[in-house]
């Protein structure tokens, strides 16, 4: 009798254990979902156990592989490149801020805003690991609660948005990327200030909740609207790659500018400040005066375009040719001294004034892009240039510009409209 019972128990033993183990996990999972509580203790232990190894691996990889490449393959070019990239990122970040500031300053009293407005306070962090779930998009960064990082903070790069802090541990934090299926971001278009919700869950980034009647052009920039209470308003999100009428709502797809999955170094926004969406330049670009006729000298000597049609390569070639001329260096000639490429070319004397009625001789490309830098790679997606401060365009008062900047979490500022429509009644 006893043996028969034991046999029966044994035959069902594995099944009973399976049911018990699975049910225990299901109940525990249901408890977490129901209460919305994250089991912090297990996660803290696991992350604290794994991140040191990951940090060590990253340090070893960085030092050994980097060392070999630096000294045997590329000497110190890699280090210089890293430093330049870092500097470039910082400058780009500053550039975004100053462009926003200048754009606002054009519409209103810039001095008041410059005093009232401060840039978002950020802390730099390095990505040290991925999530273990291949379908979920999350990464770990090497900054945690000891660096004043809190859950819900926005994570950005100078190029665009990356994600938000979803969990904080003492020495690390988890960042849920904007490409995760559960992540949604409030966005706003640059030209029409059309609001929508960015959703990258289906593998491609779509701006939802835009009516078919709304006008959204290809190449138009979308910025964070600040409505999600995560990202401060005014951070670049991406450009429109396709815009088609859909079933009820418009099908607008974006190309993210921040490359959230591939970012190695990110900025965590500790104290975000809403910024206005930079003004569009499309209309002004169409009305821009034509280029001045090229001087015969420059045309013959350089053989390259001198205007907005110039590529980065053209500009570099032109610069080097001018440097060579100034330093009496003949490219390709033997025994010609090496020119100093670090020297700045002497600016050319102003050309003769054009005839009365002719357009301004200011080069279009440089004049219309305040703060834009030539060092940026032409392949990277950049936020568009803001409207320039030129003497031909009288400053337009912006109705919302004189208002104080709202902190994160406060209701979003009203959408800028033409002065005629916002005059006090």
């Amino acid at each position: 009798m006893e043996a028969a019972l034991f046999n029966r128990y044994r035959s069902y033993r594995s099944l009973i254990v399976l049911v018990v183990v699975v049910m225990a996990q299901v109940l525990y999972l249901a408890y977490q979902v129901r209460t919305g509580r994250d089991e912090r203790l297990i996660r803290v232990w696991a992350v604290s156990a794994v991140t040191p190894f990951s940090g060590i691996f990253e340090a070893i990889r960085h030092n050994t592989v980097g060392f070999l490449k630096d000294y045997f393959l590329l000497l110190d070019v890699r280090e210089q490149n890293r430093k330049l990239k870092s500097d470039n990122d910082k400058l780009k970040m500053e550039n975004v801020f100053f462009r926003n500031q200048l754009s606002t300053a054009e519409h209103a009293r810039a001095l008041t805003l410059f005093q009232a407005k401060t840039p978002s306070k950020t802390v730099a962090a390095r990505v040290i690991g991925d999530s273990t779930v291949s379908t979920a998009k999350a990464v770990f960064i090497d900054r945690g609660s000891t660096s004043n990082i809190e859950k819900g903070m926005a994570v950005v790069t100078p190029d665009g948005i990356v994600g938000k802090v979803s969990a904080v541990y003492p020495l690390s934090a988890q960042v849920l990327l904007v490409t995760d299926s559960t992540f949604k971001v409030g966005v706003e278009s640059q030209k029409g200030h059309i609001h929508g919700t960015l959703d990258c869950g289906s593998g491609r980034c779509v701006v939802e909740q835009i009516q078919n009647e709304e006008e959204v052009g290809i190449g138009e920039w979308f910025y964070t609207s600040g409505e999600d209470r995560i990202f401060p308003r005014g951070f670049p999100v991406g450009t429109v790659i396709s815009s088609q009428p859909g079933n009820g709502m418009k099908d607008v797809r974006l190309n993210l500018s921040g490359a959230p999955g591939g970012a190695e170094e990110v900025l965590v926004v500790l104290d975000g400040v809403h910024q206005p969406i930079p003004a569009s330049v499309a209309a002004e670009e169409k009305m821009a005066p034509p280029l001045p006729p090229p001087t015969p000298d420059s045309k013959e000597s350089t053989g390259v375009l001198n205007g907005p049609g110039q590529t980065e390569a053209d500009k570099t070639l032109q610069k080097y040719q001018q440097l060579g001329k100034e330093q009496d260096h003949v490219y390709g000639a033997m025994y010609s001294n090496m020119p100093n490429f670090a020297a700045k070319p002497v600016p050319k004397p102003p050309v003769a004034a054009p005839p009365v009625g002719a357009p301004s001789p200011a080069p279009l490309g440089s004049a219309t892009t305040l703060g834009a830098r030539n060092t940026e790679s032409p392949t990277t997606v950049k936020p568009p240039a803001v409207k320039p401060l030129t003497s031909t365009h009288a400053p337009v008062l912006h109705p919302g510009a004189a208002k104080p900047v709202l902190p994160l979490g406060s209701p979003r500022a009203t959408t800028p409209k033409p002065p005629a429509t916002t005059e006090p009644q």
Binding site: Q25, Q32, A49, G129, D130, T132, V133, L176, D180, S202
Partner: protein, 182 residues
Amino acid sequence: MNESSDHLLRSRRSSESLFSRFQVAGLVVLTLIAVISKFYLPRLIPSAVWLEVPLLLVIYFGLMRPDPVPALLFGAFVGISEDSLSPANLPIGMYGITKTLVGYFAASVSQRFNVGNSLIRLVLCFFFYCFHAFFYWVMRRALLNQVVPFDTQLTLLHGAFNIAVALPLYLILDRMKLSDEH
């Protein structure tokens, strides 16, 4: 009475062989390496997100152990370890449940097939990878109400990649087992 003592002896022998072949410390280290590899490897090789070394370990352990109980417990342990490093919006237990089932089924299958054959192992490995991916997707939809796309072609492709990794991995693990026996 004789039968029950025989069972006890057999179970003790099996647990002894478990400890002699795959020592607990070795298993923990292997699990740690597998989980860290999944955590860190995509940083080095971005296209390695499809690599499921922890799952391959659970399958191997299940196939090599005809007793389902240790296999399912090992699966639960590995799964919960992975869950603890998953995004905070995914509760702990998702991978735990999936890998528990994989461990149980792998051990059950090993009672009926000759899993010493590499081809059968790889076929089973491919099947369990697809089962794991599909069941995880079902759980996210059903239990968490999260709408996540399921790409069948991509899953099959990743399954094929994983068995390509499983082939040398299982050979190494077989070697380790043999060296322990000697």
